[in-house]
Symmetry: C2
Subunit: 143 residues, 2 copies
DNA sequence: CGCAGATCGTTAGCTTTGCTAACGAATATT
DNA sequence: AATATTCGTTAGCAAAGCTAACGATCTGCG
């Protein structure tokens, strides 16, 4: 059942994801970091020290990609690599205080950009989006 | 009011957009086209013949980027460039029947990938997502 | 009519982000 | 002790985004 509306839903979500990301990318970069970097930094800040592999899995990205993201964050002084004393293969990624601050600023820029767009919806519509957001996040991460 | 939940909503939508796109990209590519190409093709199929510039604006992308996307679609035989008889600067982009067919297939693959994820939500949650989808799309495009 | 300026699409060249394959170092297993 | 596996990195490729600069066309003002 419901095949037709689900077609639409899929298309709309796909389109929305593409266009939202393109729009938000500008805000993110204005704050000094690209989307993927900000996203990775956000995980490091909130989920505490992580190994590079854990971070790659959390971001659903391959290790080489995460190596490069972390290197960029490290060069920017937002993150540090700490070697694990018990297992020398592991690299623990820790946010610096500068990283924490910048993430906060980036989030504000992102929110401004989003709010600007959500303002064009009615309060009732905003509420629907608000309730859908955590569900979408859960669905997106449940790969 | 509601400053706090909006922070969360913004973060969740951002995260969901990033992760959903990464997940859907695989499905899209399995159908033979990347996300941006499929998205552009979809606009051409549904919005009829468009000039390259119109298509770039619809996709919120710069003209050079769209030139490359259209060239790729053209090389794949999914789209054709037609010169406008009244204004020789314009290039009209038209979908071929092969393009229409492939877009249909791509959409199915995308839906499968999405349904697989949405299946983990309750029916009530799916309904919220269904209602939020067009709103998100509207918000995303209202740049 | 004719030329100056705007518009359209393309080319060239750069960056970022994703991937796979291959490797070296370190740990686990047998 | 020898072999497996695991972890992160390096190397190298493709796609998608951008700006800058151009050539071709149209517009519009003298």
């Amino acid at each position: 059942m419901n095949g037709k509306p689900l077609h639409q839903t899929a298309d709309q979500i796909h389109s929305a994801a593409i266009h939202l990301l393109r729009a938000l990318r500008r805000a993110d970069e204005a704050a000094g970091l690209s989307g993927p970097r900000l996203s990775a930094l956000s995980v490091v800040v909130f989920a505490g020290p992580l190994t590079l592999g854990e971070l790659a899995r959390a971001e659903q990205v391959r290790p080489p990609t995460m190596t490069r993201l972390v290197t960029a964050l490290e060069n920017a002084g937002l993150v540090e690599r700490k070697s694990d004393p018990d297992d020398a293969r592991l690299t623990r990624i820790v946010a610096t205080s500068r990283g924490r601050k910048l993430m906060q600023r980036g989030r504000e820029a992102r929110i401004d950009a989003l709010v600007e767009r959500l303002d064009k919806l009615s309060p009732g519509e905003v509420d629907i989006v608000r309730r859908a957001a955590p569900l979408l996040e859960k669905a997106a991460r449940s790969g």
